[in-house]
């Protein structure tokens, strides 16, 4: 099994074959992810007659009519801005509440722990559209209706389970000994957390942030019910997409995907900060 038994020249051959397979595998995975995205953008950037025609082209003709329609659409920049505000607020709320809970779940054994965990899971397991009616009634009565904060609270509810469970798994992967070592060196619990644990958990926190952002960004139903003047981009575009003509569907779909991709690109460094403990 081990490499040692294989004589020199053959071993090199095996390695080369292995490297080739490895490379081919990567290429295949990359294609698998990118080709559908490519099709989305081809359709978004093609003339309407090409989008509905057959056979399809595999290269966009850069007819920007459909995309331009969106940029000239009344209130689109305002909606974009609202979406960003809601998403950022969702991120802050869900991590601010979720990370402490995740830490508690990973570091302590206490009565009610399982209960809390199931509670968090339930939150994500229940279809939001059914909750929207009582929530909307509550929001109208309390004045949270049609505010960025109100919608962010609902989105934070959706993102919280992600934040709690992901930070829990990350904190669980960080040995307690590291923290204990810091305590013996005179750090308080808080100091130890901030100086030792937090840097290691950064990828996980970044991951929860990405999820929170993306969840908020793509959520339609609550956004459509709870915002009127302060519509988010998704509520603005997405709910009219499934009844719009095909070329606009694709242009709108692409318009929604793009900002999310830019956001992931911007935070990728933190998301994949794998120099944590591994390179200690």
């Amino acid at each position: 099994m081990s490499d040692v038994t294989i004589p020199g020249p053959r071993r090199e051959e095996v390695n080369r074959a292995g490297r080739f397979l490895f490379g081919a595998g990567i290429a295949l995975l990359v294609l698998w992810v990118l080709v559908p995205i490519w099709f989305l953008f081809v359709n978004a950037l093609s003339a309407p007659s090409e989008v509905t025609g057959f056979p399809k082209r595999f290269w966009p003709s850069f007819d920007l009519a459909s995309v331009r329609f969106f940029w000239n659409f009344q209130g689109v920049t305002n909606a974009l801005w609202n979406s960003i505000k809601v998403a950022v607020l969702t991120m802050i709320l869900s991590i601010g509440m979720g990370a402490p809970a995740g830490y508690a779940l990973s570091r302590f054994d206490f009565p009610g722990k399982e209960f809390f965990r199931v509670l968090v899971i339930m939150t994500r397991a229940f279809p939001l559209p059914l909750l929207a009616l009582p929530l909307a009634v509550m929001f109208i009565r309390t004045g949270l209706d049609d505010t960025v904060l109100g919608l962010a609270l609902v989105h934070a509810m959706l993102a919280l389970p992600f934040a709690v469970l992901i930070t829990f798994s990350l904190f669980s992967g960080i040995p307690v000994e590291l923290e204990e070592a810091a305590w013996t060196l005179g750090c308080t619990r808080l100091q130890a957390f901030v100086k030792v644990v937090l840097p290691l958990a950064l990828p996980g926190i970044a991951a929860s942030a990405v999820f929170a952002f993306v969840i908020s960004w793509n959520e339609v139903f609550a956004a459509a019910v709870l915002t009127i003047e302060n519509r988010t981009l998704t509520a603005f575009l997405l709910q009219s997409l499934n009844v719009s003509p095909l070329p606009l569907k694709f242009a709108g779909g692409a318009a929604l995907v793009l900002p999310a991709l830019i956001f992931i690109f911007a935070v990728r460094k933190y998301l994949f900060a794998m120099w944590g403990i591994a390179n200690r």
Binding site: P55, L93, D109, I121, L135
Partner: protein, 280 residues
């Protein structure tokens, strides 16, 4: 102080969920158990009595049972590939993470553009001369093709979620463990199954639970590709709530989704039990 600490850490999240989830959730539970103001189980008997219920139930289960394991394997493969890589790691990870930013509505749109009669798949086959004229894939008679298409779309869309969590978890596994195993002559496969996987348990648990929760709520992609020919639980919930205007039965459906999600999550929690603080 130390005994109160975990509860203090959980307090914000708990209070938040109490107000924004449990209050509306309670109202919906009541709705599922009443009809015209009286306590009854009629909503549930109506639900189970409808001819689509068992189809929707089993479709949802089968979809989850097929999609989630495939995704787990793919996510592990992607994460391992990325870890092995010396150059281009960040770029590859970003590509793998792209589907994160795509909402289920947009994903349904993309995959419909691939599978529909005048879509990209037919265009590709046509370009290579495999077929003379467009083939029909998503017809109601070939239910398994629709099912397969939904599986592919779901795998494409939601593998990234698991991958990101797993990548973050893998980053926390100390390199020394793998190096030590290598010194003792363990093959790459042995190192993966004996060292990496067990240490990855917290992240695997989180990734699986979050993915299962979302799998039971699968809806938009199925709707885009299969219409009503492939009923799923979430689709029926929407149908009863909005088209049939019977909120009681819709609430009953939601309870079924909730029950399934919690049950499966508990199974995952038991199977991949994570000890406190991961003293490794």
């Amino acid at each position: 102080m130390n005994r109160a600490l975990p509860y203090l850490l959980l307090l914000p999240a708990s209070l938040f969920l109490l107000v924004f989830f449990f209050y509306p959730f309670g109202l919906v539970v009541v709705e599922s158990l009443t009809r015209g103001g009286e306590w009854t189980t009629e909503n549930f008997t109506r639900m189970t009595g409808h001819w689509k219920f068992s189809t929707a139930f089993w479709n949802t289960i089968w979809l989850t049972a097929i999609v989630v394991p495939v995704q787990l394997i793919m996510a592990l493969a992607m994460a391992s590939v990325v870890q092995k890589l010396k150059t281009g790691r960040a770029g590859l990870l970003y590509i793998f993470a792209i589907p994160l930013g795509i909402s289920d509505l947009a994903a349904g749109l993309v995959w419909l553009a691939i599978f529909e009669q005048s879509g990209f798949l037919n265009s590709i086959l046509h370009a290579f001369g495999v077929i003379d004229r467009p083939q029909l894939y998503l017809g109601y008679q070939s239910l398994w093709v629709i099912f397969l298409a939904v599986c592919l779309a779901e795998i494409w869309r939601a593998t990234a979620i698991m991958m990101v969590i797993i990548v973050a978890g893998m980053g926390l596994i100390p390199k020394e463990y793998n190096e030590a195993a290598e010194v003792f002559g363990a093959s790459a496969w042995q190192r993966f199954t004996r060292v990496t996987l067990p240490l990855l348990r917290p992240s695997l648990q989180t990734a699986l639970i979050l993915r299962i929760l979302m799998a039971f709520e699968v809806f938009a992609v199925v709707m885009a590709l299969g219409g009503t020919t492939l009923p799923v639980l979430m689709g029926e919930t929407f149908q009863w709530q909005f088209q049939l205007q019977d909120r009681g039965v819709a609430a009953a459906y939601a309870m079924v989704i909730l029950g399934l999600s919690v049950a499966f999550s508990l199974v995952v929690l038991r199977l991949l039990h994570v000890p406190k603080g991961a003293r490794i």
